[in-house]
């Protein structure tokens, strides 16, 4: 467990020292959302209808943007060798890196999302469901993202390849996240969608580390 928490601590400290990384991701998220009112025109009706979709899509793209730093740095500087030789299985190391990634990317996105909801005129009654949905869905985004980040190591254009792998995999959280917001404003209620989001994250928790660790072993070769 020493190794597991040591790795999380190390990644958090690195992120704190290089604050620009978190800033870039948040900056992208904010700008991407703010572009929409300009693009679709200042009609509150239209904007309000697509508000949840805008925020979810922008959050997904911001998360994709941050994934390249998950393993690429360690792969390039040899740190990945030491992680592979550590006292914990590689699967656990992936989980530690995924947790650190969520704390430095997913959580900040969740925190700023209520402010962005104002820009796109989201119905205030739906705000708690939007935030809760992001809170439940972003761990799955970090974990599934770890698979794509590991698979694209060593590719000539890792960023492009990773985006192509990851965006289809992000469809389920996107669908249930936006559907939850929609449902919260109707008689249906958001409960079922939120539970499905939680299920996605819980399923990714044990499965994604195995897939990502297998890809990392290939990259070490």
């Amino acid at each position: 467990m020493n190794a597991f928490f040591g790795l999380i601590h190390h990644d958090l400290r690195l992120a704190a020292r290089q604050g620009g990384d978190i800033g870039l991701v948040l900056g992208f998220f904010v700008l991407a959302v703010i572009l929409f009112p300009f693009g679709v025109g200042p009609e509150p009706e239209l904007l309000r209808r697509i508000a949840a979709g805008i925020i979810w899509v922008a959050a997904l793209l911001a998360a994709v943007l941050s994934l390249d730093r998950l393993f690429a740095g360690d792969h390039a500087d040899g740190g990945l060798d030491l992680i592979a030789l550590s006292a914990m299985p590689l699967e656990l190391a992936v989980l530690a890196k995924g947790a650190a990634h969520w704390l430095t990317t997913g959580l900040p996105l969740v925190v700023v999302s209520p402010v962005l909801a104002l820009f796109v005129d989201l119905d205030p009654r739906a705000l708690p469901v939007l935030v809760l949905g992001l809170l439940l869905g972003t761990p799955a985004m970090s974990l599934i993202g770890a698979i794509a980040a590991a698979l694209s190591l060593g590719a000539r254009r890792p960023g492009v390849l990773m985006t192509l792998i990851i965006l289809p995999l992000y469809l389920p959280p996107l669908i249930f996240g936006t559907a939850a917001v929609e449902a919260s404003l109707s008689a249906e209620g958001a409960r079922a969608h939120l539970l499905l989001l939680a299920a996605l994250s819980l399923a990714a928790l044990p499965l994604a580390p195995f897939a990502a660790a297998a890809a990392l072993r290939q990259a070490l070769d």
Binding site: N2, A3, L7, H10, R17, D77, D81, L85, L220
Partner: protein, 220 residues
């Protein structure tokens, strides 16, 4: 230095290594007894780094097997990883962190609770720069930091890939002293190097003897 209780023999039997489409070497036997030293020599591309990565379990041999303490390492890879230190030609040093923080992190990865960080920094002459960000360090100082891993958390098997690269005379002397103390305590070391390195009673393994001509069709 206390002798290593778990020190024993590392044996490679009939090893073959494949990188992509190329067979780098085959039919290679090697033996690294407790307290012994193995110097790997050979021209560029003869597979020195590959053999070290293979011994470190970072590469899977195309054929053959590795034995630690008489048992194949595949039986208990976690235990085997715990007894080895691998220093590759990449240092794994993060520019934003300090040498002290890097050594603390590397020791934590090995599950070591009380690493001898100050002693390790002193052993490789890094005490003065211990709290600088690593981006201020020169290539030689980064190399010293990577080697300081060896002293911060003891392990009986050292696998060193060109450890003398970028080191000055003082650095090389410190490295040789560290290796001598390590072997005297019953530890073993395998070094791939082009530079002459002073290790008493070292066995030399010339890798070109096992090399296959480039582009050889795979037979493994």
């Amino acid at each position: 230095m206390r002798p290593f209780p778990e020190a024993t023999e590392l044996v490679g039997e009939n090893l073959a290594c494949r990188r992509g489409e190329r067979l780098v070497f085959e039919r290679l036997d090697c033996r690294l007894p407790a307290g012994g030293a193995l110097v790997l020599t050979g021209p560029n591309g003869s597979g020195k780094s590959s053999l070290l990565r293979l011994l470190a379990t970072l590469l899977v041999p195309a054929s053959g097997r590795l034995l630690w303490d008489g048992a194949p390492i595949t039986q208990d890879p976690a235990r085997y990883r715990g007894v080895l230190h691998y220093v590759g030609h990449l240092d794994g040093v993060k520019p934003a962190l300090t040498p002290r923080e890097m050594l603390g992190f590397w020791a934590a990865l090995r599950g070591v609770r009380r690493p001898a960080i100050d002693a390790a920094l002193a052993a490789f002459g890094l005490d003065r720069v211990a709290d600088w960000p690593c981006r201020w360090l020169s290539a030689g100082q980064r190399r010293r930091l990577a080697l300081a891993r060896l002293a911060a958390a003891p392990a009986p098997v050292w696998l060193l890939d060109e450890p003398g690269a970028a080191l000055d005379d003082d650095g090389e002397a410190r490295l040789e002293a560290a290796i001598a103390t390590h072997c005297a305590a019953g530890g073993s070391v395998a070094v791939a190097t082009h530079q002459p390195i002073a290790i008493t009673d070292a066995t030399t393994l010339a890798l070109d003897a096992f090399a296959t001509p480039t582009g050889d069709p795979l037979t493994v």
